[in-house]
Subunit: 134 residues, 2 copies
């Protein structure tokens, strides 16, 4: 699979988990980075939708919904707390950004196409990420 | 001043305050967007510094220190609460990103040069932003 590095959003010398999907969605460091990334991405999409700068944080509930719809939830143990389920989506999406599999602008395009619906946009991004990882 | 739009981080159709520095640092929508942007930028810089993905939120205290050192604090009324002082830095930095005056990668370069010290890095970014705005 050709992986094109994103010149804008690269981080030098960051070790990324090179292994499979389960390792990625379980990585706590990726989840922390992904939390800030997803809130920025969502705030940029929301700003574009509203036609003026604004910001908002994605709720765990929203990310859990995405995890269920895309099958990511079923890869985690049954009793995984809601916050850790949300983490899995944050980790996976920022991982595809760091690896250059999807770029920031690609993700913004998904939000545009999905009329800025966060659940539906993030579902499409996660499906694309899983396709590229497996 | 030549302003090159950043192809990666553009937002379509967002009205930006076209006016002066005071309007920018007082814009609440920009502050909300800037909050998510600065936390993402800082988390990426921190990930690079530590050599592995991680994330952290910038404290208001840190941003107040930057506002004082760069003279932005003195443009705001004396009794402005700490959170609103922090907002002014968030608004200004994301405004320079939206206008393409400084790109994400330019800001990451500042963090690298300043050995990832957040106060010192953000000070340099704010000084550069003010130079380009005034």
């Amino acid at each position: 699979m050709p992986v094109e590095k994103d010149a804008r959003l690269k981080v030098k010398g960051v070790r990324e988990p090179s292994s499979g999907l389960f390792e990625v969605i379980s990585d706590k460091g990726l989840a922390r980075l992904g939390d800030s990334y997803l809130n920025f991405l969502y705030s940029m999409a929301l700003s574009e939708a509203e036609g003026k700068p604004t910001g908002a944080r994605l709720k765990d509930r929203t990310l859990v919904e995405v995890a269920k719809a895309t099958g990511i939830r079923s890869m985690l143990p049954n009793r995984t707390p809601k916050g850790r389920v949300a983490d899995s989506i944050e980790a996976l999406i920022v991982y595809t950004l760091l690896r250059g599999m999807l770029k920031f602008e690609d993700m913004m395009e998904v939000f545009r196409r999905k009329l800025y619906d966060p659940v539906s946009s993030l579902e499409e991004i996660v499906r694309e990420a899983v396709n590229r990882l497996t």
